[in-house]
Symmetry: C2
Subunit: 409 residues, 2 copies
């Protein structure tokens, strides 16, 4: 049921020099599916990540944070699906560490140079022996051209593999960026999405990359929501392989940084939006744009209140212009000094509410026309400042309930 999901041409996913990818069918939860991914990174790259703010973060997230803090030299990412290794306590941490140690042994690197990732069911022990058995298989098929297969191998309830790629020229040097993501439910990233990996070949100094990954996450994965459930395993990783001829970027204040950032944001936004387009049970892709606020934070707060409201989401599913539900969500978003008499509401080009009430010329047929579309923009004007924020979300359908009532069976 993905919404206007673009068909992804494997040929258009450009290899990123310095990065190879391999996969295995390790039978983590179900047989005959790619469920282990290895991303191998040549020496000299920098790697940065942002992770879930969920206090029940998964064991691999804890290990990732530790390994990234060690000063880097990250050489590989190991990802499994089918099991989140979250809510697994001390044994879970031991499993995450064992994953790194085993891969390090096979690849001849140090365990601290490996970042582990897991996604799937929470509160169940990771089948560590099956995972370990898959690692040599994944190692044996490492290829720079495996991005499409890699996107496949991290899917859980996703119906579509998610990938995006770009080539840009920065100061006359070609830079290639390719990324993959996964996720369709438990999506309300707060620092990053379920899983997103984005590599490019420009060289970026570690502190600059650390800043970049936050900036990009805030403008892409941190702007989406499907069901408001922040996952235990959200992780978004940037890999700067350094193989481009572009001179290393060592400051966030140069034009080259800005150009790279814009390219990375574009790829990351595409990856984030693909997650919403493939949202569990989604039939509509909805952009919620809140303008005229006193801060980005309050605009986001209101945009998320709209994006999370089950009543708004079901109305969109039904193409029912029951748009008072949007006003109700704006009103309970928690902006306590909001003057509703200043608020305007648009649905695409249709002016629905003016100065806090129904626009005198608003006709329900016009609202209905927009509601029937598969891509809809809700625009809220607060009339109290100059800040704005955008959130991408989807509707709430019978299918969402079916998927999540049956996920494990």
């Amino acid at each position: 049921m993905a919404v206007n999901f673009p068909s992804i041409d494997p040929e258009q996913l450009y290899p990123v020099a310095g990065v190879t990818l391999g996969w295995a069918e390790a039978n983590i939860r179900k047989p005959n599916r790619k469920d282990v991914l290895v991303m191998s990174i040549e020496e000299g790259a920098t790697v940065a990540g942002v992770f879930t703010t969920n206090r029940f973060c998964a064991a691999p997230v804890t290990v990732c944070r530790k390994h990234l803090a060690k000063g880097n030299g990250i050489r590989a990412l190991v990802v499994n699906t089918g099991n989140a290794n979250a809510g697994t306590g001390e044994p879970g941490l031991a499993h995450a560490r064992e994953t790194c140690a085993e891969f390090a042994r096979l690849a001849g690197i140090a365990p601290e140079q490996v970042l582990p990732f897991s996604t799937g069911v929470i509160l169940e022990p990771l089948p560590i022996d099956r995972l370990k058995a898959g690692l040599p298989v994944a190692l044996s098929n490492l290829r720079a051209a495996h991005w499409y297969e890699a996107a496949h191998s991290i899917m859980t309830t996703d119906t579509q593999p998610k990938a995006a790629s770009r080539q840009v020229s920065i100061e006359g040097h070609s830079v290639t960026l390719t990324g993959i993501s996964k996720g369709a439910g438990m999506i309300k990233p707060n620092m990053a999405t379920m899983l997103g990996f984005l590599a490019f070949d420009a060289a970026v100094a570690q502190p600059v990359l650390d800043a970049l990954v936050k900036e990009v996450a805030d403008r892409s994965f941190n702007c989406i929501t499907i069901d408001g459930d922040t996952s235990t395993n959200d992780s978004f990783i940037l890999i700067a392989s350094g193989k481009s001829s572009l001179p290393p970027i060592t400051s966030t204040t140069t034009p080259a940084y800005a150009e790279l950032r814009n390219a990375v944001v574009e790829v990351a936004q595409t990856l984030a939006q693909l997650i919403v387009r493939d949202g569990e049970g989604a039939t509509k892709f909805i952009t919620v744009r809140v303008e005229g606020g006193t801060s980005v934070a309050e605009c986001r707060q209101i945009a998320y209140a709209i994006g999370h409201s089950p009543l708004v989401k079901t109305a969109f599913y039904a193409s029912d212009p029951n748009l008072g539900r949007i006003l109700a969500a704006i009103g309970y978003a928690g902006v306590t000094d909001l003057d509703v008499a200043k608020i305007d509401l648009y649905l695409d080009d249709v002016h629905v509410a003016k100065a806090g009430g129904r626009h005198p010329e608003y006709r329900e047929e016009d609202g209905q026309r927009v509601m029937k579309q598969s891509e809809i923009t809700i625009r809220v004007l607060l009339g109290r400042g100059s800040a704005d924020a955008t959130v991408w979300t989807c509707d709430l359908s019978h299918e969402y309930v079916s998927i999540n009532a049956d996920y494990r069976s």
Copy 2:
């Protein structure tokens, strides 16, 4: 699909001396249904209310606040269903005022002695002429015994009328309490529920009643959630008719106050829980109890995160013990210094998680057994203090989506 909804015996809804109720079929939205209720209150009563915190509060809520602030002498409540008179701007306010004026004219009282209430669709003009035409009809059938019909006349998507009644003895004097409520969706009261009216015959001084209504709301209607959507029209009203022989209660520190409060809380909790039991599409009644917190606020925050999670709610619908979703919700609830290694999780008597991980003796069959019940208690022990909080909620089913996709049609 209401969950273990008790059959309400009209004979067990005790009249409250000093209060009469009448209704009309005014064709507000649909023909042939009771959609206007009048509650008439004899002179000498005190009345207090709490209302929605939604900034887009409905016009009648604004008028209610104003009339209550005028120093009271409230003599009537006028309620319509089918239209919320919210998001209606200045014309909506005029309609709410006109409702009061018209009723006051008919009843020979002042407009400021009337409190108006509306519930139904947002963003549509109130059909004021039809409402006004219904008022003489409602006036003509005022009876002290009409509580059951009154509960019927305020229903919208409710499948069941909601009412509760008690007689208690306080210091040897009989006190009668009867209340009605409505609501099944857009339920996450924040100060009060969609609509709740509770009358008793004890005399209570105005400042004491003002304190009592807040205390009762916090322990009843403010502890429920169906879909996390705080309505624009939430209102909870206490009427103290003063007809009981119990001497007037003029302080919140007397034993008589405590006895009355406990009785009111009990009736209000029943009314609040009836709303959850009749929650849109509900198949399970779920009590979320969070203990061992440093404050009631953080316990409520975590209880609400669990109660709002679509993933938790769909798992309960499916009777699927995918209980890691509860841990995820605890983790993202926003208690930033939460130490998950101290958390225990129970499902009724089954110890699911211990010290932040799966309990070694937890067996999925045991979780499954509890999940299949229609009444389930989720108990979370935070292990960091002595505060606790309870929230009542329901599951999320296909039927919820159907109801809300079709509500207006």
